[in-house]
Symmetry: C2
Subunit: 114 residues, 2 copies
């Protein structure tokens, strides 16, 4: 049988990146599983937390699972709700912020370089 | 601002593949958006529906959003619940079945060939 787990069974890690506040991550599917093309991570941002406002040369594919928050680029901000989808292209500025009272959970997938 | 939509705003299409029963799909992020490495789709399987039991040379990364169901390979079957993660490697046999009374919704991501 293929890999089949509930996300809650996967270790919750602290991302080490500068600018990260009140964020944890689970690597649901990664190179450790034999994934060669892209990785699936589930992020949890606690109330008052945020990712850094940053850019990089790979894309993000994001799906909001629970909670609410805001997504920003360098000039504008939009609210996020469950079921929202973000496609953040390479070099697009982005930040995700939780100003609510519950944990914001979302999937964020990234490519592997070949 | 980056692409930002709710999944419910994206067209619900009928997959054309043989063996598909009571399934619809939304292509949340695809080549149309400029995605070059992988695509994010959201599938909905109605009660009594199923995907074909099949295999192919690309992987699936799956996250169960709502409802319940079963995942099968050629010999075994396991129940699915929200928050479950499947990594189906290239050439692994797989089928997803909804025997419940509510719609099964899940994300299924696939790589693009380069």
């Amino acid at each position: 049988m293929m890999k089949h787990v509930n996300y809650s069974e996967i270790d919750l890690e602290h991302p080490q990146e500068p600018g990260v506040k009140n964020i944890k991550v689970r690597w649901l599917i990664s190179k450790k599983d034999g994934a060669q093309n892209f990785a699936m991570r589930l992020f949890e941002i606690k109330p008052g937390g945020n990712s850094p406002l940053h850019q990089h040369d790979w894309e993000h594919e994001v799906f909001i699972l629970e909670g609410g928050g805001f997504v920003k680029d360098q000039t504008t901000e939009q609210p996020l709700q469950p079921g929202d989808v973000l496609f953040i292209k390479p070099m697009e500025w982005h930040q995700i912020i939780n100003r609510g009272s519950t944990t914001l959970k979302f999937l964020c997938l990234i490519p592997y370089q070949k």
